[in-house]
């Protein structure tokens, strides 16, 4: 994995800004979609039944499903090997989904720890209030979630697709999709003689999907829809991790942080335990990073120095430093998920579920990959690759609760990124908790006066409170 220096991470932010068309922190309005030059494949291009672009969780799942059905599948990967380009906080909650595809997958896959403890922490600069959930029931097969290291996990998952008969080609960057009439019929790889034909192209090329944009399925993003995550992997020996996080054997912990951890920037932090390392990082909304002129690595340093985080990471040696963009707006930035001859899955379809309580993506990537694979198989059975035939992808996504989840939680990303939820409410919760627990010789006050007092001092209008309560209810409640 590449080790990014701080300069490099700044350069990355700037590149991300350029990528998503943001200038000096100002987001452009939707640029009218340019009518792109559409090229047709050169004669003699090799033909496949299905080409999957990107060997991440979505791509490998799609390739696995299609290859098992006996189709001739090509899985293209940009990196030197699947997973070499991947960055992930690496908490994977789709164990049951993968179990359906590969029974008892955890016995053979390179997993780190099964997560039995989830913590949601509200932070201010000096204080934290946390909800700590722990159950031994998550330590039984099929488990609820695992911490994983993506370079190893992705490689293993892609190998499963290869074992099922898919053909994996590494170091192949796809430059554009190829058309005949209004039907996608293949892709062009950035190499000599790089044209390839396929009846169905499944784009799983990750956040900021080049292919979805190239095919005109996705618009340009706004800076407020994307977040930048920076992550470190800190090496720490197994015994220390077990003691420090109160874990048995191979149990694991996932902490999500909300509040002052990212200062005035909208975002949050996370910390997961691996077998002999910690993955931790911060996520910052790109528009607010630009607005407040903050560099992501500064936030990561602040995060690591926070009094409730510092003792957890003490003594850890940095093994990796990496950064990636995360599509955060959920339902509001879903692209058109299909067109004639093409499907979009995983992060490429912006299927990343970021809603405060939840921070999930790999499970939806696998679900959508399976759905895309099944759609391709069904289309092959009927020899119909038109947009109308592939539209049944949406039904499959609904049946797997992918689209329904995103629709139900469509208000959550906006709420989670609002300044009051980001900074004010964690402050209030922490402040109130401090008043409850502080003993200073004064009278012991009851809870209601403390609550009212806190609200009065916060100087927040009741109307805003009601608005937020309504928003919260609409996002998470009903």
């Amino acid at each position: 994995m590449a080790f990014l220096s701080k300069e490099a991470s700044l350069a990355l932010v700037q590149r991300v800004h350029r990528l998503i068309g943001m200038k000096n922190g100002v987001t452009p309005h939707d640029a009218p979609q340019r009518r792109r030059q559409r090229s047709a494949p050169r004669p003699g291009a090799e033909r496949f039944d299905v080409i999957v672009v990107g060997a991440g969780p979505a791509g490998s799942a799609a390739a696995l499903v299609a290859a098992r059905a006996g189709l001739k599948v090509l899985l293209l990967e940009r990196g030197e090997y699947p997973g070499s380009k991947n960055v992930s906080g690496a908490a994977f909650y789709g164990s049951a989904i993968l179990h359906e595809l590969i029974p008892n997958w955890w016995e053979q896959a390179p997993v780190e720890r099964h997560l039995t403890r989830r913590v949601l922490a509200f932070m201010t600069a000096e204080t934290s209030v946390a909800i700590d959930f722990r159950t031994t029931r998550f330590a039984e097969p099929p488990y609820n979630g695992f911490s994983i290291l993506r370079p190893r996990f992705d490689r293993w998952f892609a190998d499963q697709a290869v074992a099922a008969g898919a053909f994996l080609l590494n170091a192949a960057v796809v430059d554009e999709v190829l058309w005949e009439d209004d039907q996608v019929v293949g892709v062009r790889v950035r190499r000599d003689e790089g044209d390839l034909r396929a009846d169905v192209v499944i784009a799983c090329d990750g956040a900021n999907s080049f292919l979805a944009k190239n095919a005109g399925l996705q618009r340009e993003f706004h800076a407020h829809e994307m977040s930048l995550g920076v992550k470190e992997v800190l090496a720490l020996d197994e015994a220390t991790i077990r003691e420090r996080f109160h874990l048995y054997d191979n149990d694991g912990l996932a902490i999500e942080y909300i509040g002052a951890i990212t200062e005035e920037v909208s975002g949050g932090g996370f910390l997961y335990t691996n077998r002999d390392s910690l993955s931790l990082g911060v996520i910052g909304q790109i528009s607010s990073l630009a607005e407040h002129r903050r560099r992501p690595y500064e936030l990561l340093e602040t995060f690591k120095r926070h009094p409730s985080v510092a003792p957890l990471v003490r003594g850890g040696r940095v093994r990796e430093y990496s950064a990636h963009i995360i599509p955060e707006a959920g339902w509001n930035m879903l692209p058109k998920l299909y067109t004639g001859g093409m499907l979009v899955a995983g992060d490429a379809a912006a299927l990343c579920f970021v809603a405060g309580l939840y921070l999930e993506g790999i499970n939806y990537a696998i679900q959508s990959g399976i759905a895309a694979g099944e759609t391709a198989v069904a289309a092959h059975r009927e020899r119909d690759f038109s947009a109308r035939s592939l539209a049944r992808y949406l039904e499959r996504l609904r049946a797997r609760y992918v689209l329904t989840d995103f629709a139900n939680y469509r208000h959550a990303p906006g709420l989670v990124n609002s300044p009051r939820l980001q900074n004010l409410y964690p402050e209030l919760i922490a402040g109130a908790a401090e008043q409850v627990f502080r003993v200073n010789g004064g009278p012991k006050r009851k809870l209601l006066p403390i609550a009212l007092d806190t609200l009065r001092r916060a100087n927040i209008s009741p109307i805003h409170m009601l608005q937020d309560a309504w928003q919260a209810g609409r996002s998470f409640g009903w």
Binding site: A2, E46, E80, Y81, F167, L168, L169, A171, A172, V189, R191, D192, E193, G194, D195, L196, R319
Partner: protein, 285 residues
């Protein structure tokens, strides 16, 4: 023209991690690639062979080394072969060279064998010379330029201090190519797919007509030689009785004070007094 290229898989330097405490390499994180000198040799071979020529790639290594050979196939090598003795510890350059020589002597003999001048891990640079010895061919090491005319290779060799030597070598010959003289071409998609699909044949000792005993070279006697400790050099410490600014000046100048004369002025008696005082101070009088 038939050219054989000998490749070696070496750890990718970006994946090498050293434990600061034990100085041990973390083998789990290592990824293997073809070294820079080897890829340069491969590119030179492909250029020399052109469209009509035939380039074959050889590699002594475990099954994982197939990746290096696939890279050669993708770039345009016509065939690849891996050589391996599964249950023998292959360590010395002589063993590697013997396996390569045995493989080259079977089948059609190439006109030219190209190797990387030295691998980027052990880097002893012995294999090309030993290989030429086993084949009884001429060898040129540290080659920076090759042209082939008829049965003759005109090569340029790197000497010390930027000097170059031009040589003519009759073919067949073994040449050890310096890293960086050519950059391996970007493989075409067709080449890449062909390489991925190709089955890489493996030759073991039996196939090469060798016995395990043939590989039992006498172990080289190595003696650890550590350089002598450098002579201790006194570190200049300023005179602690001087005021701070003078001590700082002394440190900055590292105690080197410029020689300076002093011209006395005044009536002769006074000057004589000062002179005597000066000599007495220094213990001359």
């Amino acid at each position: 023209m038939r050219i054989a290229v000998c490749l070696k898989q070496v750890p990718d330097p970006t994946t090498v991690e050293v434990d600061p405490l034990t100085a041990a390499l973390d083998a789990r994180r290592l990824l293997y690639i073809a070294g820079p000198a080897d890829t340069a040799a491969l590119e030179v071979a492909l250029q020399l062979a052109g469209a009509e020529g035939h380039v074959s790639a050889l590699c002594v290594g475990p099954p994982a080394a197939d990746a290096v050979l696939r890279q050669a196939l993708a770039a345009g090598a016509a065939e690849a072969r891996r050589l391996w003795a599964p249950f023998l510890p292959l360590q010395s350059p002589a063993q590697t060279a013997l396996l390569l020589a045995a493989a080259l002597q079977r089948g059609e003999t190439p006109d030219l064998v190209l190797c990387g001048a030295r691998s980027s891990d052990h880097g002893s640079g012995q294999v090309p010379a030993l290989l030429a010895e086993f084949l009884d061919w001429p060898v040129v090491c540290d080659v920076t330029q090759i042209t082939v005319e008829g049965g003759l290779a005109r090569v340029q060799r790197r000497l010390d201090r930027g000097a170059r030597e031009e040589l003519e070598v009759p073919l067949p010959a073994a040449l050890a190519v310096e890293a960086g003289i050519a950059r391996l071409r970007h493989a075409s998609l067709t080449g890449l797919m062909r390489a991925e699909r190709a089955a890489i044949p493996v030759s073991e000792l039996d196939d090469l007509g060798l016995e395990p005993a043939d590989l039992a070279f006498p172990a080289p006697t190595a003696r650890m030689v550590t350089p002598p400790r450098p002579r201790t050099r006194p570190i200049f410490t300023p005179d602690s009785t001087r005021p701070a600014h003078e001590r700082i000046t002394q440190i900055i100048t590292a105690g080197v004070t410029r020689k300076s004369g002093k011209v006395l002025e005044g009536p002769p008696e006074q000057m004589a007094d000062v002179l005597v005082e000066f000599l007495r101070e220094r213990g001359f009088v």
